[in-house]
Symmetry: C2
Subunit: 354 residues, 2 copies
């Protein structure tokens, strides 16, 4: 197969784990059959961008271009594209391809692809070029139409960008485990993921309790839709809520005490982790055994569910609370993100990459 | 309320965490309204008897009489007893009472009683006497009829004793998580619990794989009903089975690598721990997140399910593989249990306590 024709586009890239990100020119394939070319308008900044840029998961391919919360406008389509046309406002998330034939892919759960999903940033391979995939900190991207999402017209496109990762990562487990009215649901951590978890759990009709180590976040949590706030370092508050939660969505990726959280669950309650602590966390068997509790993990969402989530957000006017930054502010934004100094997601205005 | 009239009965007891068990005389209440008095014929020896006798869970009340896998014959009944009569062959397990009013109790899940189940051995309180409950290493016991089980007549009563704990502890999670035909099920550990797990999973129609660190156990595992055996310390064998299990029942109470086991699970597969490692075990978030796997705990079973299990065993001729011992062999049996030198459960012939 001949190498596809490519074009150049501007991006922000890093050559190593210890370098800052800086301007670069990268190559994208010209749209092939089924491909959609997208001018990127906005790209959210996920904590995992930082993990990946700094090789904290030990599989980064350099030079690396992070970014997987992409909102843009279709500029061209390849032969045979039926779902999109030039001018459409679209989204691209973590997934840009998958095997499409395994049971998970056939069920629309491409994130769990047996062959391994193709991440747009996480060490994936651009199958047409044989090179590492490059993410959304760039002016343009080309993605097969089956991995492109329609963005509801009523949503602010900048504030919608984080829905593509922070949104679906919290929406999917809340839907999968059927969170809804009559349930008491905990959201652990009030960052990019957590604040979306609060919005969705509230929209689904649950009684929402934010669990945070920061007493100062209580007022904001309530503004976002939480009914109660529990300071998780306060033993007395935690004791009051022992054994009372149906479901806990844990968005924290730092080391933290899972067993104290398990003890908040009712019989058969479930704590689902969507944060990804680097180190294994200790789990006390008794915390699970004595009330038949469960501890689960969940990863983003598949294409059908991501579209469903975007449509739900359109119907309910849900977007992320964001701070819009210029592309050249990204290194400072990473430092601020490490200090949890963001409400609640940085989004890059890609028009500033000139 | 006056203290009930008591009678004396022989038992084996220990006065401290470091003492061997020895002959003693204990007091039981005379049957009150609703009570059943039972001559104990056989009592299984659970690993937790040893944990409790040696205060390894730090809540033992001394002098302690272990034993919660009790099979016996009804010798007398108190006023109002309708379910049993003198001469009936019956069983008593871990539970001898509970609050009976909380949601779990009302649902027949007395093991998860909100007020805390009354264990016949595990630091429970004999509510009529206000003294610590004393277990089955004794000639006689008095239990309220609602916590006494009918033993099917066709079962060998000695080999049925371990059903009251090892049996129900493995039966309950296999039923709760609906293990059955078409599923590949792993049983981790081939001891008292594990060998019952193999028998039940096989009886429920699953494809049963024993996961063991001991290659020497393969032939025995197959005799018990396993279709395959995987040596869990053999990376190559483990890799062959990666992502292929629907369900894993983990009966190991020593420290062990849970993450290697999680990696054997399919998408949405579940590992249920019924062993109780003393120390918290490290859980890698990625092992759960990447296939939406779950890690759960399960504790024995409630009274209705324990009766269902005994009836199932009667219909299918299922009992434990046992080694019958004399009461005065109990201290040696504990040492042998620590060496895993038992196939698969010691049962005390209580007629030898004279």
């Amino acid at each position: 197969m001949p190498r596809p024709v490519c074009y150049s586009t501007k991006a922000y890239s890093t050559p190593s784990a210890t370098s800052p990100l800086g301007a670069a020119v990268i190559e994208r394939r010209q749209p092939l059959a089924g491909d959609v070319q997208i001018q990127i308008l906005y790209c959210g900044v996920c904590h995992s961008d930082l993990h990946y840029a700094r090789n904290e998961w030990h599989f980064t391919q350099y030079p690396a271009v992070p970014g997987h919360e992409i909102v843009g406008r279709v500029t061209a389509t390849g032969p045979g594209v039926t779902k999109f046309k030039a001018g459409d406002t679209v989204g691209v998330g973590c997934l840009v391809d998958s095997c499409r034939t395994c049971p998970s892919c056939r069920q629309g759960l491409e994130q769990y692809c047996d062959a391994g999903m193709t991440g747009g940033t996480y060490g994936g391979t651009e199958k047409h070029l044989g090179t590492p995939t490059l993410g959304g900190y760039s002016q343009s991207i080309v993605v097969t139409e089956d991995f492109v999402l329609r963005l509801p017209a009523n949503l602010n496109p900048a504030a919608a960008a984080p829905l593509l990762c922070a949104g679906i990562t919290t929406y999917s487990p809340l839907r999968h485990w059927k969170v809804g009215p009559g349930q008491k649901v905990g959201i652990v951590g009030l960052g990019g993921l957590g604040h979306m978890g609060v919005k969705f759990a509230q929209a689904f009709g649950a009684h929402v309790v934010v669990l945070t180590t920061s007493p100062g976040k209580a007022a904001d949590a309530k503004k976002l839709g939480a009914h109660e706030v529990v300071v998780s370092t306060d033993g007395k508050q935690m004791a009051v809520h022992a054994g009372s939660f149906d479901f806990i969505l844990d968005t924290v990726s730092a080391d933290h005490d899972l067993n104290a959280l398990f003890n908040l669950l009712k019989r058969e309650g479930n704590l689902v982790l969507v944060g990804a602590p680097e180190r294994p966390q200790p789990v006390a068997s008794f915390a699970l055994i004595f009330r038949r509790r469960s501890f689960s993990g969940s990863l983003i969402g598949g294409l059908p569910e991501t579209q469903e989530m975007l449509d739900f957000c359109g119907q309910h006017g849900i977007t992320s609370d964001i701070e819009l930054i210029r592309m050249d502010q990204i290194n400072t934004a990473y430092e601020r993100m490490l200090q949890s100094d963001v409400k609640y997601r940085f989004v890059i205005d890609m028009a500033t990459l000139t």
